[in-house]
Symmetry: C2
Subunit: 241 residues, 2 copies
Amino acid sequence: MEMLPISPAAALDEAHPCFGCAIRLVAVCGVLNSDELAEFKRGGSDIERLAGETIFFEGDRATHVYNLTSGALRISKLLSDGRRQIAGFLFPGDFLGITMEDEHAFTAEAVVDSTLCQFPRARFDAFVDTHPQLERHLYAIAAHELAAARQQVVLLGRKTATEKVASFLLMLAKGPACRMPGGDEIFLPMSRSDIADYLGLRIETVSRELSALKADRLIQLTSTHSVRLVDRDRLHALAEG
Amino acid sequence: MEMLPISPAAALDEAHPCFGCAIRLVAVCGVLNSDELAEFKRGGSDIERLAGETIFFEGDRATHVYNLTSGALRISKLLSDGRRQIAGFLFPGDFLGITMEDEHAFTAEAVVDSTLCQFPRARFDAFVDTHPQLERHLYAIAAHELAAARQQVVLLGRKTATEKVASFLLMLAKGPACRMPGGDEIFLPMSRSDIADYLGLRIETVSRELSALKADRLIQLTSTHSVRLVDRDRLHALAEG
DNA sequence: CGAGCGATTGATCGCCATCAAAGTGGGTGG
DNA sequence: CCACCCACTTTGATGGCGATCAATCGCTCG
């Protein structure tokens, strides 16, 4: 997910409800000025979810929209026999709730302890109606998510297990959310099971592919939840077939 | 793809450039009134593409947006070794060109002889800026495409070949574009190769699965490009695992 | 230190890909 | 009008990648 074009937000007074919000500059609210932001924020509330807890289930009425402020989420869908597909991960600054349907088509859960900024959908829609730049921004967000979803379609439809895992690591490395302080190390907040269900594989296969990349000196497994990318060029070559 | 909520468009004078446009009521331009539509149309032009011809290639600069007026399109991506994934099909009324990038990420080609309404992107964007209801509509379109792409993610990541083919047939049956005059028959404008590349399968597998569904009396293959859905309930049961 | 869960590694299986060949149908030219 | 051609589709035989079944490892927490 790339940085969206954002109009510069004004500095906020310390008393402003969004003062100190780590994601204000990249999130959907980043296009609002100080007064607009204050009005916007009054319509919402902060909520927390521990790792594994649910924001909403598929089939739930889509009563709210959300902005992820810290942590990580997964959006997933279950088939009747328990097979699960994860359609995406969300990181701080990401917007949750793009839909035109009454009911959510996917379940949203916290991958790790997370905090969100929550808004009733009706109020959010009304606010958007009066702020065209927000409407524009929402369209840009939807377009980005569409591009990401179609990339995942290519990955799932035509890539091998090795290519899938290499692509996944490079995708995380590209976004700012999973980069670790040092240079080439990335943080994997999600479990092997989450990775497998995102890539359309089983956990054993993910584990084997990671081990194989390690054996080939393309990566180092610095811990179960962190990976160092040793040779990005060869990783890219692998990822694109 | 479901019908979007459309404000009723006024009847058009016979001299109006969009008079007789078969898709005006469902397309992106459907939210415009007669005068707006005339202004909109002046910025665009009609183009034709024969079956197999390209609208744009992945990597091309995204200079235009399009509205499909007749025929069918596929949007696809090639891996370096020639593997192809089709990310979606477009039918009359569908909008082509949702992207925030300079370059198209996918190739768009005509599945059958097609006609499109073409607009320079800059002019289109300017027009959208002055017509908020159009912006809204674009957002709704993007949200729908996102939902469709994520459905395809689930299909590609977790469904079996049988489930994929059953889901595909039901998807086409749901949209109005492929329904044939009679009740349960649907028209498949695309080749087996297109179907295979959409479902992440090979053409032999698609053919075998269709034959198996026929043998099980769930469908009839009325011709290579048409299928009669005999037992939708069992088809649904198959499609959802 | 032991329990328990997630991750890794190993052995075997099955679905779908691949390789191969025959069938089908639409279009062209004789 | 008919015969041929070529591309697409269907059907058949075999193989490989990733799933499944199974066992061990290793970390965290009580």
